[in-house]
Symmetry: C4
Subunit: 227 residues, 4 copies
């Protein structure tokens, strides 16, 4: 590769394109693997798949965009001062496009449109669902805000296992989405929109709360000082 | 944030408030996720949830208070010289309040009061239950005493997996509490007190033994010398 | 050991012999353990065995040859500039010999020739199978291309868990081979060749795509610059 | 603690006593937790318990004795030049005493003498059992020989997951002992000696082969040079 092309790709604009495509690719793989595991997997296997596939993508693409794969993560990191506005917009577009493409590939492979959409257990009200999704996402993004700077060696595994933990607790209650893009892809392809707003409201509130809580209260005073 | 507020929060008093609230938040999440996983999870999923949620909270809040989430841990670290008296008292208050709040949120979400209380298998006498809880907690706190200083990169995962290991061995025998606060929250909300003293006596003896054993016998001579 | 023998073993030729034998040993253990776990294990246990045995071998032999254990990995790293042609040829020979020996030992131990061959679910066409295997291997080798340089501490576990993740998603769909050698060993010993080409075409395309994608687009600009 | 007592404990003789007691304690916990998990656990839970309890003890006591917990490990490290004769003898005595004590405590708690002894599946001949145990232990000790020096951060988890991997593959075939002490404790307490020699012959051959193979062939030339 000529240094000219590498130079273009490592310019500010090039980094933005690389970042958006990394988010698209990563979120597509997340939806393909995670929702794909629902076809034959038990709840524990689904939990591990959703968690570990995030570990995979953070390990392979974390250096490009931070590998958020989730608009709630991007929002939380924006409010925590760890990502810029322009990047955030590009990443979120990539996440939604990727989630739809991932769900589309799964639909083609499996020849079905029932693609593991997120939904509420009969015992869970939409309000309770929002509370659960808010708390799940709050914990996830509180982990992300601290671990990426304080323990980068473990960050991909810690983040992945946090997603797995959320599923182990709540997969049968709220579907443990924590992620509007993950919920949007299968909803669009399968045209299943029941309680869909739960998976936007809860994760975005949880992500925003986590970013602000980490920034202004549980900040890590041993690391860089923002604000 | 003005540096004035940050300055207040990083003063000795501010650190105490932050620490107490971190223990409250972390123990609340521990009880919510761990006990919540009992509703639909099999024993293996419950073991992983209780273990990994501790990894999550230690990763996100360990820098604030050490993230004990457990009075037996605080006692063990007090005897090992890793925490001061005033902090210990504040943390333990936070832990019990957090456990009750976590159990209360779970009760509200699930609309039930059966919240995964700890209890003994019919084949286990209370004395055997105390022995099991003592040994489980002894191992947990022996891990904590050494790993936080000798291997901070791995500490949250190692501690979380130690809790999971205790559950994998003993969840069907003693309920594998290792933690008076984790047992207290569901007991209070559900008003279930059978054999409850087992989960105070065993963990506190185990925690104290581990702290003293590490300090005076199995100390890590390559690290800081207390005593 | 005289320094003469050690000197021979650490010469360029000696390193080649050591590397080829490491690949043979490692791939043999991979097939023996992974395919052996199919005899009594459920899908989750099989997924963990195939993943974690790669962690074991990368931990014990990674310093010798990189511990590819997979011709698709060797191809991907060749195109990413992380392995030389001569080494690649020797490693791939070692991988195929090792896979056959591992399957042969398993056949002798179990006194059966049904050795966990890879095959397609009835709902999966050969074309869809190739797509799945291509994507699985693309993700695996994208992880390997980045993690070995950027996070060597975690590399064996991250790579192993990536293989486990691929199995958790796709073991019931395509058999989640990701590896022509792993598929070849049991196929030869059991003489089962149905859809066998899927496990050469998919992994080799996926490996090549990953190596080129990492080299020319998702390269890690904080690390060494190839090209 | 007066520096006099600490001084005695850190003398050569004191380190020997500390090491022997660490091996006794660690092997007792290994047998108690591992064999205890068999009472109610499925095969996957047993595999994780035996693996992760070794991670626990290596994390908490590795700095004292290396935390072998297994005569085959001590033999392998002796042949690899990583432990001295006198220490090896003391450690092995501690391991056998600990295994018997651990099995005895379990027998008392459970009020039974059926304590998860290791045994062969009906389809496995004693010779095949020895082959399996030899290979399992060879892999385990090849991991230990390399990881303790090359990647100490990950060593406890990597070693524990290697033990879990051996169980996932072979628990239904040979019982996946890899450890004469682990097999001896339950055999003595339960007086069950069928095929017991398999668990001495296999692990000791595997351990010796691994130590010699690592020392003279698959040595890590980037690390210290023994021989
Ligand atoms: Ca379709
Ligand atoms: Ca209620
Ligand atoms: Ca499992
Ligand atoms: Ca045969």
């Amino acid at each position: 590769m000529s240094s000219g092309i590498r130079g273009q790709l490592t310019s500010k604009y090039g980094e933005l394109v690389r970042g958006g495509l990394a988010e698209l690719l990563g979120t597509g793989i997340l939806v393909l693997f995670g929702c794909g595991s629902c076809t034959f997997g038990n709840k524990e296997m689904i939990a591990l798949t959703f968690g570990l596939v995030i570990m995979c993508m953070a390990t392979s693409l974390g250096h490009v965009s931070g590998c958020h794969l989730n608009p709630a993560v991007t929002l939380g990191l924006l409010l925590n001062g760890q990502v810029e506005w322009l990047n955030a917009i590009v990443y979120v577009i990539g996440q939604f496009v990727g989630a739809v493409v991932g769900a589309g590939i799964l639909a083609a492979i499996l020849d079905t449109d029932h693609l593991c959409p997120t939904g509420l257990n009969a015992m869970i009200t939409p309000f309770a669902g929002i509370v659960i999704e808010t708390i799940l996402t709050f914990v996830l993004i509180l982990v992300i805000c601290n671990v990426c700077e304080s323990n980068p060696t473990m960050a991909p595994l810690a983040i992945g296992l946090t997603v797995a933990t959320g599923h182990l607790f709540a997969i049968e209650l709220s579907g443990s989405s924590m992620n509007p893009a993950r919920s949007f892809g299968p909803a669009l392809i399968g045209n299943i929109w029941k309680d869909h707003y739960v998976y936007w409201v809860g994760p975005l509130i949880g992500g925003a709360l986590a970013g602000l809580t980490h920034r202004f209260f549980f900040f890590n005073s041993k690391l860089s000082k923002r604000g």
